[in-house]
């Protein structure tokens, strides 16, 4: 009998609307090599799959070879871990239910795991970032929408149908602003950049003070943070209000979950310097007293891309090894 070697690397794939990034990652989370290609060039999922397989094989040939690769992990919006499918994505050109994990496995002959981007990010942060060593925590994601991933007893909480974590669509202001989801008063309608733009309009209408906000139609998170850095009072007030509502939403969230930490990622990292103080103060005011002072607010220690790739690699290690060639 020969002593077998373990396979020491996995492939992590991060599929986003703009581009798809592929990385070879070792056991300790070191990224050995990366490549990327534009996602939206492929309106047919078969063509997309061909492009992805080719990119993976090229990257492997130029670097480690395929022999040391154990498995593949994919992070995708609207991804369902249970089924390995991208399901009814509102933004991708591939409609309906796409069994991407099974399709890629058949092309490459390696085990493939696929997860929802928010869940995958939490895995990355957990394995190699700010949540390392925690058993109960929440990771907040915020770009155009607001989502979260809940880790409970050291396991990702997917919920009965894989939809758990929609904290952005909990109601914070009864009969409040209309949200894109069709309901009123959702947290997301106030704290995402679209919501902040609305709040800014309200703040501007209430005041006669000059503001850099008056010169722009819409702004990004980075832009309003820049205005704050320049001492713009109304920009600061806008983010104060945003922070307060976020604090209320998170207090309710934490009262139910009693997490060890709430980890801020993506847009919330950008905004954190200007909203965190108000968020935390409001949080402390509203959270159930047994939990007050017992929840850490932390900002992610990874950048968005790395976090997703790390998470995809963790997902890859989680799936049972399988090889067509053995």
């Amino acid at each position: 009998m020969l002593i077998d070697n373990i396979k020491t690397h996995v492939v992590g794939v991060d599929i986003r609307l703009e581009s798809t990034t592929i990385a070879i990652i070792d056991i300790r989370g070191n990224i050995v090599a990366t490549t990327h290609f534009p996602t939206m060039n492929y309106h047919d999922v078969g063509n997309f799959l061909t492009a992805m397989s080719d990119a993976i094989m090229n990257l492997l040939e130029q670097n480690t070879g395929i022999d040391c690769i154990r498995s593949i992990g994919i992070s995708a919006p609207s991804g369902n871990f249970y089924s390995g499918c991208i399901e009814n994505s509102p933004n991708f050109p591939w409609k309906g239910v796409v069994p991407l994990a099974a399709m890629l496995r058949d092309r490459l002959g390696l085990a493939v795991a696929l997860g929802n981007d928010a869940h995958v990010c939490a895995l990355g942060e957990w394995a190699f970032g700010a949540a390392h060593g925690m058993k109960d925590f929440v990771l907040l994601t915020m770009q155009s929408g607001m989502g979260s991933c809940i880790v409970s007893n050291g396991q990702v909480c997917y919920g009965a149908n894989g939809f758990a974590g929609e904290v952005g669509h909990t109601c914070v202001i009864p009969e409040g602003r209309e949200c894109g989801c069709g309901k009123k008063g959702c947290l997301e309608a106030y704290v995402t950049i679209k919501g902040i733009n609305k709040t800014a309009k309200e703040v501007l209408a209430e005041s006669n003070k000059p503001s850099l906000l008056r010169d722009v139609d819409t702004f990004t998170s980075q832009a309003i943070v820049n205005f704050c850095e320049q001492g713009d009072e109304l920009a600061i007030e806008t983010l104060r209000r945003t922070g307060k509502i976020l604090g209320l939403g998170l207090a309710n969230f934490a009262t139910i979950l009693n997490p060890e930490a709430i980890v801020f990622t993506e847009d919330l990292m950008v905004l954190s310097r200007w909203i965190m103080e108000d968020t935390y103060a409001t949080f402390q005011e509203y959270v159930f007293r047994n939990i007050a002072d017992k929840v850490k607010f932390t900002v992610s220690s990874l950048d968005d891309q790395t976090r997703a790739l790390m998470g995809a690699s963790v997902l890859a290690w989680d799936v049972k090894e399988y090889s067509l060639f053995k």
Binding site: M134, K135, D136, F137, S148, I150, S152, N153, Q155, C157, Y158, G159, A160, N161, G162, F163, A164, G165, E166, V167, H169, T170, C171, I173, P174, C181, G182, K183, L248, A251, N252, F253, T255, I256, L257, N258, P259, E260, E285, Y286, F288, R289, N290, I291, K294, V295
Partner: protein, 327 residues
């Protein structure tokens, strides 16, 4: 020669309520073999209380199946912490501060003791013997004097980092709303639990002039409100409708976060039946995130009121590692 050991097939379940303490001998299938209770309020000193409880308990066990057939003890008590085994800063019980209840009882009884709060015990009981049987992701809501909850994720109880998870009653639904006993304002509990319902009824009586049978009642309580609603009293019906609307919204937020298979209502208030449940369901469907709409079932517990807590405590007892002073 070694004899084959017999498995201990019974446990003790104890429910420490504010008014009544109930204790029972329960077998592994959830059959209650014997059950007794006494008044909790007679013992303001915890040591006296535990002395009396132990004595009663040993008597009951000896009369029922013998002490040697008891594997362990599960205790259901408000404000207790499963992770530490302590009763922590009780709001309504008379024993204050942090009391290591599980350890104290283990030392008196010589058996392993596990402790959890009502929602957690009920969740265990419902999963083993009730409406949540076979479910891996579900929420239990207890709605009576107070409002609490417990949820299961991936088939396991979620306790949170320090064991305080599930305080749905103290999530804010109306910023700057009603004062709550916890010191905050606008908590869900201050609208949906017993005191909240009564306050809603009183507010309605004050704000409207229409006649109502409630005006002749000295002591308005949920039972009276349900009876009046059955008789067609508009203000009683409206009281339940407002309660249900708040409750439905609170539960929708909960479901949006967790995507549970079911939310199971337990406790006294769900006895109001359709007067409460119909508006709750309507508000729930109205407020829940659309992906979850139609996926989460609202259910009412199928276990009996007097048995639910001790039954849950018995399931808890099976979770603790066996230990006996006498072996």
């Amino acid at each position: 020669m070694m004899e084959l050991q017999k498995m201990k097939s019974n446990v003790v379940g104890i429910d420490i309520g504010i008014a009544t303490t109930t204790y029972a001998v329960i077998d592994l299938r959830g059959n209650i073999l014997a059950q007794e209770s006494f008044d909790t309020r007679e013992y303001p000193n915890i040591d006296n209380y535990l002395g009396v409880l132990s004595e009663h308990l040993v008597n009951l066990v000896e009369r029922t199946c013998g002490y040697e057939n008891i594997r362990s003890v599960g205790v259901c008590c408000p404000n207790s912490n499963y992770k530490t085994g302590c009763l922590e800063n009780a709001t309504n019980l008379q024993w204050k501060g942090v009391i290591p209840l599980a350890a104290l009882m283990r030392d008196r009884l010589g058996l392993a003791v596990a402790l959890a709060n009502n929602s957690q015990c009920i969740a265990l009981g419902e999963q083993a013997f009730g409406a949540a049987h076979g479910m891996r992701d579900f929420v239990i809501i207890t709605l009576g004097h107070g409002m609490g909850s417990c949820f299961f994720s991936n088939g396991k109880m979620h306790m949170g980092n320090k064991g305080f998870a599930g305080e749905i009653g103290h999530t804010c639904v109306v910023p700057n709303g009603r004062e709550c006993s916890c010191g905050h304002r606008g908590c869900l509990e201050s609208y949906c639990a017993e005191r909240g319902v009564i306050q809603t009824a009183k507010e309605l009586l004050a704000e409207r002039n229409e006649p109502s049978m409630l005006r002749n009642v000295d002591d308005i309580n949920p039972k009276v409100l349900t009876e009046m609603a059955e008789l067609g009293d508009h203000l009683a019906i409206e009281t339940w409708r407002r309660t249900g609307e708040m409750l439905g919204m609170g539960l929708a937020n909960y479901a949006s976060i967790l995507n549970p298979e079911a939310i199971i209502l337990t406790g006294g208030l769900p006895h109001a039946g359709r007067w409460l449940l119909e508006p709750t369901e309507a508000a729930f469907e109205n407020h829940v995130f659309r992906n979850i709409k139609g996926q989460t079932r609202l259910l009412v517990s199928s276990l009996k009121d007097g048995e639910r807590d001790v039954l849950g405590a018995s399931v808890l007892a099976w979770q603790v590692k066996e230990y006996s002073l006498f072996l």
